[in-house]
């Protein structure tokens, strides 16, 4: 059983066989590895694991975003997918403003509260040190959605929650 504590709200996952059937986790010793190319990365997945690719030009205020949508072949929910911004640039698993903008566009574009986008960092169970976010589908309202959010910096997508 793994326990993840997010802002005092607990999400539990009891994985019976996932630990043996999922892709072996990569040992991540540095946020900026010497070379992502030589290790497993999301450019090396089997072609059938690639759902499609999206070129997002919807934002007037930022550059276009190239997003690869992959299946998560060890899914937690139906439609569990990986969102890989600019996957061919081999960025490490460090959340960037561009990646947040890409994810926000997907979230606003999907316009469906059952979809959630999550980021897990190295040291927090990220198994591949190549920039990716998780797209999950849960047909329930989760506790985190009862938080009230406040704008932390005006005109920026940065919020604090109470």
């Amino acid at each position: 059983m793994s326990i993840i504590n997010i802002l005092s709200i607990l999400i539990f996952q009891l994985n019976v066989e996932r630990q043996t059937l999922r892709r072996p986790a990569m040992i991540i010793t540095s946020l900026v590895p010497d070379s992502i190319e030589t290790k497993f990365n999301f450019n090396k997945v089997k072609s059938e694991e690639i759902l499609f690719e999206v070129i997002d030009r919807s934002s007037e205020h930022s550059n276009e975003c190239f997003i690869s949508f992959l299946i998560n072949n060890s899914p937690l929910t139906k439609y569990h997918s990986l969102i890989c911004p600019n996957v061919r640039k081999n960025w490490p698993q460090v959340l960037t403003l561009d990646a947040i903008k890409c994810a926000a566009n997907v979230m606003f574009g999907f316009n469906d509260r059952n979809y959630r986008i999550l980021y897990n960092s190295p040291g927090a169970f990220a198994s591949v040190n190549h920039l990716h976010l998780h797209l999950l589908y849960v047909e329930r309202t989760l506790s985190i959605q009862r938080f009230v959010s406040f704008v932390l910096i005006t005109n920026h997508l940065l919020f604090t929650m109470n």
Partner: protein, 85 residues
Amino acid sequence: MASSTAEQTLLFLIESMSGIGQFTVEKLQDYDKIKEQLIRRWTKLHETPNVFRYKLNVRNEKILDGSFQFLVQVYDFLCAIFCQL
């Protein structure tokens, strides 16, 4: 690649070598079609042998008593508990 209609702005290009679909999103509403494609293709791949490491098959689910209202879902290979409102 500016286009006038939703159908034109959402271009589905089949890459001849890989068969990977590629969409261009000009406005956020175009993601409606992306979502449809995700559901369709994910479901198709899930039904295809040897793509996923295991099949998701919800056997049962239950909301536990208590303030956290945990949602418990039992799959063939997975038991997931989500925290519900």
